[in-house]
């Protein structure tokens, strides 16, 4: 038995890097420290796709890697508008090959940000982002606001490692010296821990931010008695807490990115952070979901200039969420083939979008079977990044962290599969040119 320390967890955007494991006979037998219950479950491993498969007469039949890769290349090369979607649960090295494949095919490339923090990215492009690292939050923040987010259940280590509960240089007392505010439509597990819980009506976050900004700008006189279901007294109380804090940290989640004014909620949240700067130091950060969704945004941005929802049909990058985001594209029935990698739209996309995905040829690249497998026409199993393959990922505060390889495997890593598909596509083009 071997004990391995400083293992990096490849589950959520927290990317915890202090995990201690016990490995015996090339298998993780125990997670000793560091991981939350969800991370632990991934590290201990579960059922895998056994072999590459191609669907014939409605049934998935086992085949070789070579056959599956060749079939994938044929589907993509033939397509007039292929969608290459996912990318958030793999490493940046694989994502980079994905961009190259997108360019080669003239495809649409989108990642899971488009059903997650894509709205936050749009907001950042409109008004910028006064942000910081999680280390800074841990060491400085004395007022932590979770808005439309429930880390107690979704990012289980977040409060302990980085925010409300953690002890840092200027926050040595931990939560004793801090205040926690939760804004949500219902009293979540996180809200139960809060000093102040602000219950906002569904879809009404936008005017609540506007009211807080007006108050912080010194115009509380124009704010009505109730905004978005929140009494004015509570808005004034919250504004006062902001004014009195030394360092205000706002984290936000899907509760604000996908309701009401959506990305403009985030514009308003960022502007609220700016208004707080009239009184104190404040910062804001999206609670990213997949462990490398921040990374695929980084890779896409440095390769194409844009973070997600990119089309390369005309040989240059055109970016437009709403037009090129995967759910919209599928909802409209705009693409005629899809490659799904390191994500599971089968479980997460709206029904109408899935109807089209079920109709067109789909290639799935993933370590695990999931609802997407049910309609995939080619299934290619891969090594699990962070357990069987190494590579770089970006934590939710855009800090790059290198995932380690802990176990040996016969499965190929995402990067190699993508490189081989790209080679096959180029061979097909050369053949046609002859």
């Amino acid at each position: 038995m071997v004990e391995i320390t400083d293992v990096v967890c490849s589950l959520c955007g927290c990317v915890c890097d202090d995990i201690v494991l016990e490995v015996e006979n090339n298998k993780v037998v125990k997670v000793k420290r560091g991981a939350c219950s969800v991370g632990k479950s991934k590290l201990l491993g579960h059922e895998r796709i056994k072999s590459p498969m191609i669907r014939e007469n409605g049934e998935l039949k086992e085949c070789s890697y070579d056959e599956a890769i060749k079939k994938s290349a044929e589907i993509l090369y033939k397509s007039r508008r292929p969608l290459l979607y996912g990318w958030s649960s793999t490493v940046c090295e694989a994502d980079k090959v994905g961009v190259e494949l997108t360019e080669d095919l003239g495809a649409v490339m989108d990642n899971t940000a488009s059903v997650c923090h894509g709205p936050s990215v749009l907001a950042i492009q409109d008004v910028g982002l006064p942000s910081c690292t999680l280390g800074e939050v841990k060491n400085r923040a004395d007022l932590v606001i979770y808005w439309g987010a429930n880390p107690a259940q979704a990012h289980a280590n977040h409060m302990k490692r980085y925010s409300y509960v953690s002890k840092g240089y200027w926050t040595a007392e931990g939560k004793k010296g801090k205040k926690l505010v939760v804004v949500d439509v219902r009293k979540t597990m996180t809200a139960k821990m809060a000093d102040v819980f602000v219950q906002v009506e569904q879809g009404q976050d936008y005017p609540v931010f506007s009211a807080l900004r007006a108050i912080l700008q010194g115009h509380e006189d124009v704010v009505p008695d109730k905004v978005g279901g929140v009494p004015k007294e509570q808005l004034l109380e919250l504004a006062n807490m902001v004014k009195e804090a030394k360092f205000v940290m706002t984290f936000f989640g899907m509760g604000v990115t996908h309701t009401g004014a959506r990305h403009n909620n985030i514009v308003n949240a960022i502007q609220f952070t700016r208004a707080a700067h009239l009184h104190t130091k404040a910062s804001i950060m999206p609670l990213r979901g997949h462990y490398n969704v921040a990374g695929i945004n980084q890779v896409c941005t440095w390769e194409t200039g844009f973070p997600f929802a990119i089309e390369m049909a005309r040989g240059y990058a055109w970016y437009n969420p709403g037009e090129l985001s995967a759910t919209d594209l599928l909802y409209r029935g705009d693409c005629d083939a899809a490659m799904i990698i390191a994500s599971d739209p089968g479980a997460h996309f709206p029904g109408e979008s899935l109807k089209h995905l079920a109709k067109i040829p789909v290639i799935q690249i993933d370590p695990y079977a999931n609802p997407t497998t049910e309609f995939a026409d080619v299934v290619i199993p891969v090594a699990v990044s962070g357990i069987e393959a190494e590579g770089n990922v970006y934590r939710m505060d855009n800090i790059p962290i290198r995932l380690r390889k802990i176990l040996d495997t016969d499965y190929l890593p995402d990067e190699e599969i993508l490189e081989r598909i790209l080679t096959e596509v180029r061979a097909l083009r050369e053949k046609e040119g002859e």
Partner: protein
Amino acid sequence: MQTITLKLKEAVRSGIAAVPVEVDALTPDQLFGKNEAELKAVKVWWGNREENTGDLFDVSVEGDAGNAEEVKIVFEGDLTRVKRIGDGMKAGEIEARGDVDMRCGAMMEGGKIVVKGNANCWAGREMRGGELIIEGDAEDNLCAMYRGEDKGMTGGKVTVNGNAGELVGQYMAGGEILIKGNADRLAGLNMRGGKITIESDAQWPGSDMTGGEIVVKGETEMTPSFKFVETATVDGVEYKKYLGDLAMGEKKAKGTLHVK
């Protein structure tokens, strides 16, 4: 006067997917002076491939034109997946007989477009001049800016006979928009110039506006950071006049919002 009729072939819409055709190459100023054979050879993008206009559309030409102003293009057939009709057009006229896809009249500088149906998102995006008439509804981002740009529409005139979606005239800096029906959330968001008139209802119009004018004749759900100034009369009708948006700070809050 010359009329070029382009009817989308049914075969284009018969595949497993509805891959859009992009027709930004087919504006009066670009087609002026071309004979029928030349028109049919103009390249348009259909997915990741360029095709001949004549392979995707039935093309017919009637009459002659002395300049681009005298060219009228009529689009027919199922246009719900025909994008960028009149994108960047400078002169002449386009008539689209049916519902059109995204970015109709985007970056338009002059001439006139009439859509005899609904227009999908980003119609009149960053429009600079000319006239756009949508006889049905307009979806989101009408006359708004491209993602991340700091200016939407800067000139020209847009009329929507039906309803409009979210973010009408976002970052608008000039020109005029008339919505005869409702406007969904955040019309005139970050607006700094020009005028938007909404004849029916609106939710949170003028948020973060720093200039320009919005008139809402129906019901308004207000953003809570506007300051009531006075009762004012516009075109003989009495409105409550507000200044805003104070969420931007007092110095920047120079937008005018007239509501019932």
